[in-house]
């Protein structure tokens, strides 16, 4: 088990390094750097001026060296210009130049400075993640029980009328991406066109104060797309369990159908959906970006879009690190929990 965990973590670390390097490369492409220079300096800079600005600010070092600096494993660049003024990556305004730390990357907790928000990125990310965390929590609270109930009821009696109806419903939800269901929900429940003005079409006020009216639509929109998938997994797993010998034995022994389902079938049927639910969390990320944009809820997904739209390289990098981290950690949890939950799998 220990060696499995070690190997798994090793692969995860390697993956994380590769992914962050790819993101680093793609966000630091030549045209992006030029755009950055012009927005930092001024729009009318000549090509020569752009190049000299890039050299002065350490952007012309080899890519690997810069990646190392950003990560915090290579010492930050320093430079003394012709007037004897000392500049460097790790030098902040108002700090004694003799007291500058050697390394300043994300490993040291230095996430950089956002150009859009004019704030330290660490703070922004924490704040936005909290907002998105609230959204995700509500979504999971709605999505998981709904999906499990649908799946168990459908899989309980495979091929029955209930099964057909619920399965078709599951297919319908997996065919409705967030930007479709969100738009339809807003029209039906939040505009004068639908007539029912039960909820609000924007969640901007939910950032300070979550209410039933402003948070329902984003949560439902986000939950709906995932419900079908988890329900189908649960149904398949449940249907398989219901054909097992021990279920028949329990039934023949005279136990009621409901008792067999709840006591014998459910526990074994929920192993597979459990890992699917955990793996669904990174899948929700795309949905989060869409829903937060659509409902104007300024959380993590909205920040990602803002960073892309404004060429805010450091913020985009930070968002990517968080996203990649979430994906890899959920994969790890899913792998480990599967081994723990399923006694048939033994790792050696």
């Amino acid at each position: 088990m220990v060696s499995f965990l070690l190997r798994r973590s090793g692969v995860m670390l390697l993956t994380a390094l590769c992914l962050t390097f790819i993101v680093f490369y793609l966000t630091n492409l030549e045209p992006n750097l030029e755009k950055l220079t012009k927005s930092e300096g001024n729009m009318r800079m000549s090509d020569v001026q752009v190049q000299s600005w890039l050299v002065k600010n350490g952007y012309r070092q080899p890519l690997l060296k810069r990646y190392g600096e950003w990560l915090g494993v290579a010492p930050g660049w320093t430079r003394t210009d012709e007037n004897g003024k000392f500049t460097g990556r790790c030098l902040k305004r108002g700090v004694d130049p003799n007291n500058v730390p050697k390394f300043c990357g994300i490993l040291q907790g230095n996430w950089g400075f956002s150009l859009v928000f004019k704030e330290n990125i660490g703070g922004i990310i924490a704040e936005k993640l909290l907002l998105t965390g609230k959204l995700m929590l509500c979504v999971l609270l709605v999505m998981v029980p709904t999906a499990l109930i649908i799946g168990v009821i459908a899989g309980m009696r495979e091929g029955s009328k209930t099964d057909r109806i619920l399965s078709t419903f599951s297919i319908l939800t997996t065919s409705t991406p967030e930007y479709v269901s969100g738009v339809i929900f807003i029209i039906v429940f939040a505009s004068k066109f639908g007539g029912l003005r039960w909820f609000k079409g924007t969640a901007a006020t939910a950032m300070d104060n979550i209410t039933f009216a402003n948070f329902t639509l984003p949560v439902i929109t986000l939950a709906l797309y995932g419900v079908g998938y988890i329900a189908r997994m649960t149904r398949a797993s449940m249907a398989e369990v219901m054909t097992e010998q021990y279920i028949r034995t329990a039934r023949l022994k005279g136990l009621s159908f409901g008792g067999v389902v709840l006591k014998h079938a459910l526990r074994n049927a929920l192993i597979a959906p459990f890992t699917v639910i955990i793996l669904q969390i990174p899948w929700l990320l795309t949905g989060v970006v869409i829903v937060e944009t659509l409902f104007n809820y300024k959380g993590f997904g909205w920040t990602l879009v803002a960073a892309v739209g404004n060429n805010d390289i450091e913020l985009l990098l930070a968002c990517s690190v968080v996203a990649v981290f979430v994906v890899l950690v959920t994969q790890l949890i899913s792998d480990i929990s599967y081994v723990f939950l399923n006694p048939r799998i033994r790792v050696n």
Partner: protein, 384 residues
């Protein structure tokens, strides 16, 4: 002229779709008549869900084919006085013409844009899925068949791409800046090679003993393949037949790139399962080459799950294209692409809901059709 009533709008919209109804009737009648001889497709007619899916998919395919007959207006023309007009509004100064589903924010006809938008999806989504399958199959077969180091390294690469949140990958890969650097061209150069490799291996392994036949097939593959390759990937087609807009190429390559690792994993898993079967052992004893076994023994026996996944994946690709459009990364700024139309429409949703609604319903019904079709096919293929 007066505004049309709701009933009149419905009747007119249904009449506009006449070519589609005729096409549907012909195809379905012929299919039902010859269902015994049509294999898996014929069996599909035993499942109501599958038939419902097939009808929805055929509806949009036929709409894309007859789009010019169905559309009442030009999808890009802006007529003065038609901005944000309600459904059924008469076109000023033109007798007998209406904006059947109203006008959008730029005074264009919503109905015609929806109809024309189907062409973009129906052209790109299946093509991108086919390319993703070529890549996934060509890499997944040897990975599953040989195992070992090859499998480990290819799987690591696939997992690398799969660990990327899709949306992040799109934000990084589909930008005007990245087009300046030529990264999409490199990706296209690599990804578009796979169909050629696939067909060369396919014919080479089959006709090794018949040099004449092999030469003919290989010449056709290589000439056609590299002709299309030069045009699609690098826009250097000497005859100008094959061409892809740089923006479209960027989107296409990214969609293929996102989809192929999943196909790779499916093919790899199926191969690992199938290679333990007796007929594979028999082929090995006959002395068949590894590629012959992979392409002519393993692949045909993996077709059931692959066909099902193919349908699902076209639907998923349609959703991905819509997502790209929703974030303004669509094919061209003016194009009637469904995702882009939803994105434009959502900004005025509270006041004018009608421009956003038709493309959402169109996209949903197409994906629903593909998913139902996949479900029907799965059920029928499991029945054997």
């Amino acid at each position: 002229m007066d505004r049309l009533t709701a009933t009149e709008i419905i009747i007119r919209v249904l009449t506009q779709f006449t070519p589609v109804w005729i096409g549907l009737a012909v195809i379905l009648t012929l299919s039902v008549l010859f269902r015994k001889r049509l294999g898996l497709y014929g069996k599909l007619f035993g499942s109501p869900i599958g038939v419902a899916g097939l009808i929805l998919v055929l509806f949009w395919v036929l709409t894309a084919i007859f789009a010019d007959l169905i559309a009442t207006m030009d999808p890009l023309t802006q007529l003065s006085g038609m901005k944000n007009k309600k459904p059924g509004w008469p076109v000023a100064g033109a007798e007998g013409q209406w904006y059947l589903l109203g006008g959008d924010n730029l005074a264009r006809d919503v109905f015609s844009r929806m109809v024309k938008g189907s062409q973009i999806v129906i052209a790109i989504a299946p093509a991108a899925t086919i390319f993703a399958f070529m890549v996934g199959i060509t890499l997944g077969l040897p990975a599953g068949f040989y195992g070992g180091k090859l499998d480990t390294s290819l799987s690591f690469l696939a997992n690398l791409v799969l660990a990327f949140p899709v949306i992040l990958l799109f934000f990084l890969l589909v930008t005007p800046e990245i087009r300046e650097t030529g990264v999409p061209l490199v990706m296209a150069g690599v990804l578009f090679l796979f169909p050629i490799i696939f067909f060369v291996l396919l014919f080479q392994s089959r006709f090794k003993e018949q040099p004449m036949k092999l030469a003919i097939y290989l010449t056709i593959t290589l000439v056609l393949g590299f002709w299309a390759y030069s045009g699609l990937a690098f826009n250097k087609d000497p005859f100008g037949v094959f061409y892809m807009d740089p923006n479209l190429l960027n989107i296409f390559v990214s969609v293929v790139f996102v989809n192929s690792p999943t196909v790779f994993r499916i093919v790899r898993g199926l191969t690992m399962d199938i290679k333990t079967r007796d007929y594979v052992a028999a082929a090995q004893t006959r002395g068949e080459s590894p590629w012959y076994i992979m392409l002519w023994e393993v692949l045909p026996n993996a077709r059931g799950p692959l066909i099902v996944d193919f349908c699902l994946r076209i639907g998923y690709t349609t959703i991905l294209l819509g997502t790209l459009g929703f974030f303004g990364l669509g094919v061209t700024p003016e194009s009637p692409d469904w995702g882009m139309t939803i994105n434009e429409g959502r900004k005025l949703l509270a006041v004018y809901p009608h421009p956003a609604l038709p493309p959402t319903i169109a996209l949903m019904t197409l994906v629903l059709g593909l998913n139902l079709l996949a479900d029907g096919l799965r059920e029928e293929s499991l029945r054997d």
